[in-house]
């Protein structure tokens, strides 16, 4: 499995730079973790290396997402490059890694710790005491980019039911807060390499209490390879 395929086809960008959902620590020798799917959630997953193909060449890597009991199918990594590792129970829980084959040793296991990312393109900035007291409405945009080699279709976005005060739209004015895929915002098709702008609006009620960890969580679905 390669980068830009399956659940890695759509990426959130800000000023053309990918916005990552996790702060990531941990690795094994010869592997640098580039990105992880937000669907992994936070916590500790494991990455495991095995002897590679049937001819004994190369090394394979497998990913087990935090909380998952099923290791993903090992991905053969015959040379330096970027690979996509998928969890065995949910293929949309992936890890995108850079492999340095000369340093990659079979039989290694390591923990990958995924922390929630603060103040990225989805989380936006913190709310100061003045804004929390008076209330605040903030709008911004992110890019929904198709990183795959083919077009994706029927892209739908919706807001997680536990996320409060977030609305989305495509035109900057027709705000909606759907909490199911069926009622979701239809983004439509996105050609290979293209980006669609998604508008976000966050409403902070007046007299909001202090909170050190508020997550903004959006869901997307689409059809693609």
């Amino acid at each position: 499995m390669g980068p830009g395929e399956h659940g890695d086809a759509l990426r959130i960008t800000a000023s053309s730079v990918e916005s990552l959902p996790h702060h990531i620590t941990g690795a094994i020798t010869g592997v640098a973790v580039l990105a992880s799917a937000a669907r992994n959630g936070t916590g500790v997953g494991t990455i495991q290396s095995y002897v590679g193909g049937v001819d004994g060449g190369g090394v394979s890597l497998a990913w087990t997402a935090p909380g998952s009991a099923t290791e993903g199918v090992p991905v053969l990594c015959p040379s330096d490059g970027v690979y996509l590792l998928q969890d065995g129970a949910d293929a949309e829980k992936w890890l995108r890694v850079q492999v340095y084959i000369d340093s990659l040793i079979p039989g290694q296991g390591g923990s990958i710790r995924l922390y929630g990312q603060y103040n990225n393109a989805i989380g936006s900035d913190d709310v100061d005491s003045t804004e929390a007291s008076a209330g605040d409405v903030e709008t911004w945009t992110v890019g929904v980019s198709n990183a795959s080699s083919v077009g994706v279709s029927n892209v739908v976005a919706w807001v997680d039911s536990d996320t409060d005060g977030i609305a989305i739209c495509l035109d900057g004015s027709s705000w909606v807060s759907p909490t199911s895929e069926g009622a979701g915002l239809a983004i439509g098709n996105i050609a290979a390499g293209a980006t669609t702008t998604l508008h976000l609006q966050r409403t902070i009620a007046s007299s909001s209490a202090a909170d050190g960890s508020i997550e903004t969580l959006l869901h997307f679905s689409w059809e693609g390879i």
Partner: protein, 254 residues
């Protein structure tokens, strides 16, 4: 051209129209049933909501511990606590700054970087603080069964001590607080270095020492000693057979 359009074009194109290699590749990959599927992605990010910062005031009869429940909160300093609400005792006050999420930790309010101030109340009146204890001290086993007490004291101002207060035992028990048997003078400069030899003991005697300082808040004729906070008790076993340790860790010995 969007993927669905491409697929429709591949299906509906006139048979005579020539396909390019690029189109053939796309048709193969993009139109094969089973290769295209429904996928899911989440997008996540976190933020914080801060509240107006307030001072957390901690007060108790022992030095406050970070993370414990504050006695009071105030938006600004100075903050006031009614002394009549408090019984006569020694109280320790610490302050931190808190914005609803992040706590500054205790600020270094007291002397020598202490994170608290001490207030001694008697009938709701502040009667002043006792002198500070030794800034640092240790015991040294000297030759001939002698134990030397090394101590450093530093406290400028009117609170400073007038005497060291040494209590020791040779029976293994802990010396009592505020009952010294030896009291060398403290320098009037507010800084004093103590190097005091206890009487020689038999070899192998366990000597326990408590070192405090004290100040006379009474008169010469009728003293009223205020002692520094109780120190820890240090223990050492005397050595009456070995030679004295070489000075400075043996430097200069060939």
């Amino acid at each position: 051209m969007a993927a669905a359009d491409e697929l429709a074009w591949v299906v509906q194109r006139p048979a005579r129209r020539r396909r390019t290699a690029s189109h053939r590749q796309r048709a193969r990959v993009d139109s094969l049933p089973g290769l295209r599927g429904r996928h899911l992605m989440d997008a996540s990010g976190f933020y914080r909501v801060f509240s107006a910062a307030t001072y957390r005031i901690y007060l108790g009869t022992t030095p406050p511990v970070e993370g414990s429940a504050p006695y009071d909160t105030d938006n600004a300093l100075p903050a006031y606590i009614d002394g009549s609400e408090l019984a006569s005792d020694a109280y320790y006050v610490s302050v931190s700054y808190y914005n609803g999420i992040i706590d500054s930790g205790f600020l270094p309010l007291g002397p020598s970087g202490a994170t608290y101030l001490r207030i001694d109340l008697l009938d709701a009146e502040d009667i002043g603080n006792p002198p500070l204890g030794p800034h640092e001290w240790r015991l040294e086993a000297r030759s001939g069964g002698v134990v030397r007490i090394h101590g450093v004291y530093l406290e400028p101002g009117t609170n400073r001590a007038e005497q060291w207060a040494v209590a020791y035992t040779t029976d293994g028990s802990n010396p009592a607080t505020d009952t010294p048997t030896i009291y060398p003078a403290v320098s009037a400069t507010g800084m004093s270095v103590l190097a005091y030899d206890l009487p020689a003991q038999a070899h192998g005697t366990t000597v326990k020492v408590r070192l405090q300082t004290r100040r006379n808040d009474g008169t010469v004729g009728v003293p009223s000693w205020r002692y520094s906070e109780s120190s820890t008790v240090l223990t050492i076993v005397t050595d009456a057979t070995g030679p004295a340790a070489p000075p400075a860790g043996g430097r200069g010995l060939a």
